[in-house]
Each structure stands twice: as structure tokens, then as C-alpha cells.
């Protein structure tokens, strides 16, 4: 007998803030400003890769600001976790190469007690856009990720200065031989155009002079070496400043530029808030000003996450899940673990191969993640992940998860899954879906797997 599930309630989200001042004030739930499962799941998707029911429950309990406190400063022993994973990854880089490294990184994203840090590490990975094919050895890529992770929520000047001594960054952008007689403009241009200032905010002379500041930097045997006699010690004129600048100076100069502040604030907005919304300059101004004043990227991330804007309709479901967010979100929600070696290959087929950005601008992202081929492959990936057999095994078991949370009957387990995966955001006839799943299934475990597969195919589920 089929139990009809009641129609899902409409999502409840605060309206977009009226002014830039309102936008960045911390969100306080209250009249018209809900704190419910939908909004909590939104926070955990954006500030990480999604969450299971227990984590969602904790968030509901702690409230938005308390949850963000824990996201920024996890109570768990992150140092011990990092030590263990650093060891795994070090071994993987030695023996398994780039593919093994990718696999371990996905695993780290799934298990980390500090998901926000990993999420922002991927942000900087996209911004740095170093082509892993040029790195030569996996150790170089491992060091690249460690550096990005270490500074992902820190001082962008330090991050930038470190990147300018990072073998993966230099090799990835053809800057491994900073000869005084031939300053490398490719790396310098990338730094100005894609990492900091953005197009149109510098001149060809700035690129040339920045390249001069970087001379003396070499990659030898996969390690950075500064060769003083190759460094051009003359006076450089960069963005109106004059002096005998080095790479470190260059990092500092770039981070003082309002254009860099605005460009990074815009990128962060797109990363955390919305794919296609073009935020007006006045809206970004407080972020950009704080960037130039404090040089604290973690603070910027915190401001965005805590804000009225972040919890409003202007942000809610206004991003398309990257393949990474799509797959990891499903795995985290279902409290399981799968082969991340397989997963890394499937993500590459969906267009997101870590360490292999399609261009120096990183991945295009947004709606470019979804076309007629990638969407078909997303659906087929969910089918594989939730088949209960085959290359992903049977460790994702939606019925077991529902039972763990007290839902024994198929219809209540189905309701549980709708709340877990969609929080009522999709206009769907769960009863009909369950009936179809029962026909495909046979036993409750198979039925709920089929039901979860159907939920993962819902258009709303593709939105972050």
C-alpha cells in the first residue's frame, strides 16, 4: 500500500535587503527572517560541501551566527586531522601521482572538520589556475594545495607572495625561468589580470614592470630557487609606485589596489552568494574597503556568510552546484563514503578535474556546468552512486540513514529524504515518485535508493 506524502511546503526565505548597509549586517532570525532547515542547509552547502541530518540538526539548534562561529573556528581537533591527511597525501604524491592526490583531496573534503577552509582552498585553486600538466611531479601540486589551504582564510598579501615562490604556480604559467634579460610577462599578466586586478585595470607597462620584479625566480628540480644575479635590481614603475621592487613588494602593491579589492570581492560574491547576479559597486564597496584596510580574507568571508544578504532570496538557490558540490553533497547527506578514485574520474567527465583548469581564468562555472551532455551524465552518476552495487559499492544506503534518524516506514523515510536533500524547495509529487520507486525497488533499501536517485535528478537539486 502506498502512503501519500503530503505536498511539500514552499521554502521560506527572507527578501533581499533594501540597502548596502542592511545587506552586510549580521542576519538575526525574526519576523520574516526565518531560521529553518532550508536556510541552514543553504549555509552548509555554501560554506562547505553540504551536510548530513545530524549536522543540519546541530545548525538548527545553534542558530545562524553560532553555526558560522563553528564553521570559522571548528571545535574539533583540526591539527590532528591535518597531520593525518598530510601524511596520507604525502605518500599518495610519492607513489600514486596526480590522480592519487586528487582522490585523497576529495576524501579530505568529505571528512574534514573544517569544510570552509577546503571550500576556500578550492576558491584560490581556481583563481591561481595553475596547469597541473606542467607541474612535472605530484609533490609540486601537493605543496601548491598546502600553500593555498594555509592562507585561504588569511592575509592575501602573504598568499600572493607565497604563490610567487610556488613551483606549481611558476611552472603552471610558464614562469619557471625568471631571467633578467627576458622577464616573463605571462605569469605577470596572469597575476594582474586573473588573480588580482582584473582586465582593464592595468597597462602593458605594468605587466612588463611586474615581470621585472619577478626576475631571479627559478624552478629547479621542482623547487623554487632565487638567483640574485638574474634579479633585475633596477627601479620599476608599477601602478604609479616606483622602487626597486621584488616579488614580495609586488604582492603588497597589488593588494593595496582598489581594483584588486573590488575584483576579489566580486569573485567572493560569485563564489558564496550568487552566480549571475551582478552586484552593484556600492554593494561591494564595504567589502572592498575592508579588504584594503585589513588584508584579512577570512574576515571578508565571515562578513559575507553572516550577512542579511547571504540568507536572503538574492542568494538562496542562486548558484548552480559544481560537479564537486553535487557529488560531495549527495555523499555527505547520505552519511556514506565511496571510492574517491572513481569519483575523481567522474567529476573530470563532468568538466571539473582538479589541477587541470580549462584556462588561466579557471573554470567558467555557473550555468556552464549544466548542458545536455553533462546533465545526462550527472543523472547517470547519481544512478551509479546509488545503485547499491557496482563500482561505487553499497555504502550509500538512504533507507539505513532514514532509520538511523527514526524513520522506519517507507513513506516516512521518503519524507525524511525530501527534507534532507531538497528541504521542500522542489514542487514535486513525492507520493508519485515513491510509487515509481517502489515499482523499481522491491525491498525498502532498493526502493529508497531509487527514490533518492529520483530526488537527485530534480532540477532544483542541481542548484546550490
Amino acid at each position: 500500500m502506498v502512503h501519500r506524502t503530503p505536498p511539500c511546503r514552499a521554502p521560506e526565505v527572507a527578501p533581499a535587503p533594501a540597502s548596502p548597509e542592511q545587506a552586510w549586517l549580521p542576519y538575526q532570525p525574526g519576523d520574516g527572517r526565518p531560521w529553518n532547515l532550508g536556510v541552514a542547509a543553504h549555509l552548509l552547502r555554501r560554506a562547505g560541501f553540504g551536510a548530513g541530518r545530524a549536522r543540519l540538526g546541530q545548525a538548527l539548534e545553534a542558530g545562524p551566527q553560532g553555526t558560522i562561529d563553528a564553521l570559522l573556528r571548528p571545535e574539533a581537533d583540526t591539527a590532528a586531522f591535518d597531520r593525518a591527511f598530510d601524511e596520507h597525501e604525502g605518500r599518495a604524491a610519492e607513489t600514486g601521482g596526480e590522480a592519487a592526490l586528487r582522490s585523497w583531496w576529495l576524501r579530505r573534503m568529505l571528512e574534514t572538520p573544517h569544510p570552509l577552509q577546503e571550500k576556500m582552498t578550492v576558491f584560490w585553486l581556481e583563481r591561481a589556475a595553475a596547469d597541473g600538466a606542467r607541474a612535472g611531479e605530484a609533490r609540486v601540486l601537493l605543496e601548491h594545495v598546502r600553500l593555498l589551504r594555509q592562507h585561504a582564510l588569511g592575509d592575501p598579501r602573504t598568499l600572493l607572495a607565497s604563490l610567487l615562490r610556488d613551483p606549481a604556480m611558476l611552472l603552471g604559467h610558464g614562469g619557471e625561468a625568471g631571467r633578467r634579460s627576458r622577464p616573463n610577462e605571462r605569469l605577470a599578466r596572469h597575476l594582474l589580470e586573473n588573480v588580482t586586478l582584473g582586465p582593464g585595470n592595468f597597462s602593458p607597462e605594468d605587466v612588463h614592470e611586474a615581470a621585472r620584479a619577478l626576475t631571479g625566480g627559478f624552478v629547479q628540480g621542482g623547487r623554487y630557487a632565487f638567483v640574485p644575479r638574474e634579479h633585475d635590481a633596477g627601479v620599476k614603475r608599477i601602478l604609479g609606485r616606483e622602487g626597486n621592487f621584488s616579488g614580495d613588494d609586488l604582492a603588497g602593491i597589488l593588494c593595496e589596489q582598489p581594483a584588486a579589492a573590488e575584483s576579489l570581492a566580486r569573485a567572493l560574491y560569485r563564489w558564496l552568494v550568487a552566480d549571475e547576479d551582478e552586484p552593484e559597486r556600492a554593494l561591494l564597496a564595504p567589502l572592498a574597503e575592508a579588504f584594503v584596510r585589513e588584508h584579512d580574507f577570512g574576515q571578508l568571508v565571515e562578513t559575507v556568510l553572516r550577512s542579511n544578504l547571504f540568507f536572503s532570496a538574492r542568494a538562496y538557490r542562486r548558484k548552480i552546484k559544481s560537479p564537486l558540490e553535487y557529488a560531495l553533497g549527495l555523499i555527505l547527506a547520505l552519511e556514506g563514503m565511496v571510492s574517491t578514485t572513481e569519483l575523481a574520474q567522474d567529476l573530470a567527465a563532468l568538466g571539473q578535474e582538479l589541477f587541470r583548469p580549462p584556462s588561466a581564468r579557471g573554470w567558467a562555472g555557473g550555468r556552464r556546468w549544466i548542458d545536455e551532455a553533462t546533465l545526462a551524465r550527472r543523472h547517470n552518476l547519481a544512478a551509479d552512486l546509488l545503485r547499491g552495487a557496482g563500482r561505487y559499492g553499497d555504502r550509500l544506503d538512504p533507507y539505513e540513514v532514514a532509520r538511523r534518524h527514526g524513520c522506519e516506514r517507507e513513506d516516512s523515510a521518503a519524507r525524511f529524504l525530501v527534507d534532507l536533500l531538497l528541504q521542500g524547495d522542489a514542487d514535486l509529487d513525492a507520493g508519485a515518485l515513491l510509487q515509481a520507486a517502489q515499482e523499481a525497488g522491491g525491498n525498502p533499501a532498493a526502493t529508497l535508493r531509487a527514490f533518492a536517485r529520483a530526488l537527485a535528478r530534480v532540477p532544483e537539486y542541481q542548484l546550490a
Partner: protein, 404 residues
């Protein structure tokens, strides 16, 4: 492609003040194209077959009356009587009878003496040049077909503008900056194993509208592809070669009308080996050329059967030709110029350009007289309707390959 759309492409590409060429092809350009209405399902298609390893052009289209050929190829010389002659001096390899048949019907053209300046005869470097259309080592992060795919992508109807069909990793030629170009072993990968209709109240969220639209079309595609993906190559007259199987899948992709404009396949295995015959070339080269000729001929017949031949053009390429002399191991070394083959219904047919001299050589290899980017420009602009300059970075004069 209707004239109006082509005119639009030209008009919008002409006004390229916003276009910046740093690091490849401009996003703004793609945005400008967004406004173009999607071309009808009956758009032209380009199929590119990569011959990996450096094909020996001299033993593919053989200059059998040239004494230098006879003298230089002491063990690899092909007997004139066994060749399939296409002119008084040239004949296809004995195993390429099918190419002669296509040639006689005007369905096959040969562009002779194709290469590029600065050929360094290194597999990696030469392949990269053909893939990126950038002949001096530069920073290109995308391939020429990938850039064309970015141009073809229409946000209102994001179909599958390009695909690789085969079992090696996707060739770099298909690397795009924004479009995810799929590498398919089989069309099954685009068939939805389970599916249902997704309704829902109208939404003002453009991203949700986008996903819903793509979802509807992916389901419709799947319905079209499902019966096609189940078809057997043998039933459609394809021989039992991997290239034939891949071309059979490519034909089904074209038949399904998903808006695909460019398909890439490969012969040779992608890595070491294939056409790279440094020793005992004869037997291996025979086998590869037979696979090429028979697979392409089966593909052309298949396209004829489904009525798609007038809108499909196939071209081959290989990273370089080979040396005129043998190397003492019944093989040949890395060379330069080689012939390139085109097959399809829209061709002018015949031999294009002269056979390169076997006397005026560069380091024992025939010199090129036709830059391969002129072939690219021809298949991109008059054939596919893209602005070739936007893809290739500069202007290349098209060749008289197409029937007017």
C-alpha cells in the same frame, strides 16, 4: 546554416573591439553569439580523424613515377601495378581501394603538401601545434575545436556542440575554455538510465529555468539516442575496426540531431606506435591504412543511407609526414609535409595542390607548401560558418575544397 545567421556571426565578430585574445578566445564573443538564434537541426558537421604517430604520406598517396621515390624506398617501395591510381603519377596505397572509389565519386579530396613552418618533428610539439593551431610554442590553453565549441555554445539552448568518440583520452584539440566537451566511448553515456518528467511552478530564478530547459532537452535526446545507441555497426555495414566502431557512433550522434557540429575520432592508439613506424613499417602501415579507408568508406555509405552526407565533412590529420629515405630498419623517420584527406558530400573533389618535390627537401623530408591552418580556416568558415579568425587567431586564406 541560413544566410541570416551566418551574416549575424560575421557582423558580431566584425565588431570585435571588446575582444581580447589573451589566453585564447574571448568570453564576450561567446556572449555576443548568445543572441544568435539556434541554427536548425540540419547544421553542417565536421568530423576530424586524428592519425596518431606521423603518417607516411609518400606510402599513402604514392608518387610512383618519381625515381627518387623508387630509389629511396628500397624495402618499402609499393609496386606501381598494385596502386589505385588517381592521376598519371599518383596512386593510393594497395590497401586503400575504398579511397579510390570515394575519389572517383567526387566524395574524397586530397590536399597535398600540408604542414607548417617551424615543424620540429617532435611528436608532442607537432601534435600540440595541430591541436592548438599555434605553430610556435605559446601559451594556448585551448584547442582549435574547443574554441569553435565555445563559439557554438548557445546559453539558451546548450546542446552538445562537440564531442570526442573513442577510447583514448580526449585529444587536446577539443579542450575548450568554457564548454565541457564530452569524451564518449559510446552514446550509451548520454542515455538516461532512469528518468521522469519534472514539472514545477513557474520560477523567476534564471538558473532554475536553465536547468529545467536543459533537463527537458536531455530527456528528449535520451529518447532519440536510446534506439540509436543499441544499433550494431556490423548491421550498418561497418568493418570490425575500432575506428569503424567510433565512426558508427559518430554517425548516430549526427543522426540524433543534438546540434553537434564537431566530432573527433582517432586511429593509431593515441600514444606510442600507431603510424610511428621506425621499423618494419610495411605490414603495420598496410593494416592502418586499410582500417582508415574501409572505416571512412563505411561511414560515408552510412551517411548516404541516413541522408546526412550533404552536411557532413570528414578530415584527417597527422602530426607530420615521414622522411623520404628509409632508416635501415625498414622504417622511416619523422618528416614534415604530408597529404590530408577530406571526405563528404560537399566537396569539390580531386587533388588540391601539387605533390611536393622529392628533390627539394628539408632534412630528407618533403617541404610543405600549404599551411594546415588554411585547411582549418576552410572547414571553419565556409563549411561550419564560424569566424575562422576568432578561432585561429589570425586570417588564413581558405582553400578551394568545397563545392559551390
Amino acid at each position: 546554416m541560413p544566410a541570416s545567421r551566418r551574416a549575424f556571426l560575421k557582423a558580431s565578430l566584425g565588431a570585435s573591439a571588446l575582444v581580447s585574445f589573451t589566453g585564447g578566445v574571448p568570453r564576450l564573443l561567446a556572449r555576443a553569439l548568445a543572441a544568435a538564434p539556434r541554427a536548425p537541426e540540419r547544421d553542417t558537421v565536421l568530423v576530424v580523424v586524428q592519425l596518431t604517430g606521423g603518417n607516411d604520406g609518400l606510402n599513402t598517396l604514392v608518387p610512383f613515377t618519381d625515381d627518387v621515390y623508387g630509389r629511396s624506398r628500397t624495402t618499402l617501395r609499393l609496386p606501381a601495378a598494385q596502386l589505385h591510381r588517381v592521376s598519371a603519377d599518383l596512386g593510393f596505397h594497395p590497401d586503400m581501394q575504398e579511397f579510390r572509389g570515394l575519389f572517383d565519386q567526387g566524395l574524397l579530396s586530397v590536399v597535398q603538401g600540408v604542414g607548417y613552418p617551424g615543424q620540429d618533428r617532435d611528436h608532442g610539439g607537432a601534435m600540440r601545434a595541430w591541436h592548438t593551431a599555434e605553430c610556435a610554442p605559446g601559451g594556448a590553453q585551448s584547442g582549435w575545436l574547443g574554441r569553435a565549441a565555445d563559439l557554438a555554445w548557445n546559453p539558451d539552448s546548450p546542446g552538445v556542440p562537440a564531442a570526442f568518440v573513442g577510447s583514448i583520452p580526449r585529444p587536446f584539440a577539443l579542450s575548450a575554455e568554457e564548454t565541457v566537451v564530452p569524451a564518449l566511448r559510446s552514446l550509451e553515456e548520454l542515455v538516461l538510465r532512469e528518468t521522469e518528467e519534472h514539472g514545477g511552478a513557474p520560477s523567476d530564478n534564471p538558473l532554475l529555468q536553465h536547468v529545467r530547459g536543459v533537463d527537458r532537452r536531455a530527456r528528449a535526446n535520451s529518447l532519440k539516442l536510446e534506439p540509436l545507441a543499441r544499433q550494431e555497426g556490423a548491421a550498418a555495414g561497418y568493418p570490425d575496426f575500432s575506428l569503424a566502431a567510433d565512426l558508427h557512433q559518430a554517425a548516430r550522434l549526427i543522426e540524433a540531431d543534438l546540434g553537434v557540429r564537431m566530432v573527433c575520432c582517432e586511429l593509431g592508439g593515441g600514444g606510442i606506435g600507431g603510424f610511428d613506424n621506425h621499423a618494419n613499417q610495411l605490414g603495420n602501415h598496410c593494416a592502418l591504412l586499410r582500417q582508415l579507408a574501409e572505416s571512412v568508406a563505411a561511414f560515408i555509405r552510412d551517411l548516404q543511407r541516413i541522408g546526412a552526407l550533404p552536411r557532413v565533412l570528414l578530415m584527417t590529420f597527422s602530426e607530420f609526414g615521414r622522411t623520404v629515405s628509409e632508416n635501415g630498419r625498414r622504417g622511416t623517420g619523422h618528416g614534415e609535409a604530408a597529404p590530408l584527406f577530406l571526405a563528404g558530400g560537399g566537396l569539390a573533389g580531386g587533388l588540391i595542390g601539387s605533390h611536393p618535390s622529392l628533390v627539394d627537401l628539408v632534412d630528407d623530408a618533403p617541404k610543405h607548401h600549404t599551411d594546415f591552418r588554411r585547411v582549418y580556416a576552410t572547414v571553419l568558415e565556409p563549411w561550419l560558418g564560424f569566424d575562422s579568425k576568432a578561432v585561429l587567431g589570425s586570417e588564413f586564406a581558405p582553400l578551394p575544397l568545397l563545392r559551390r
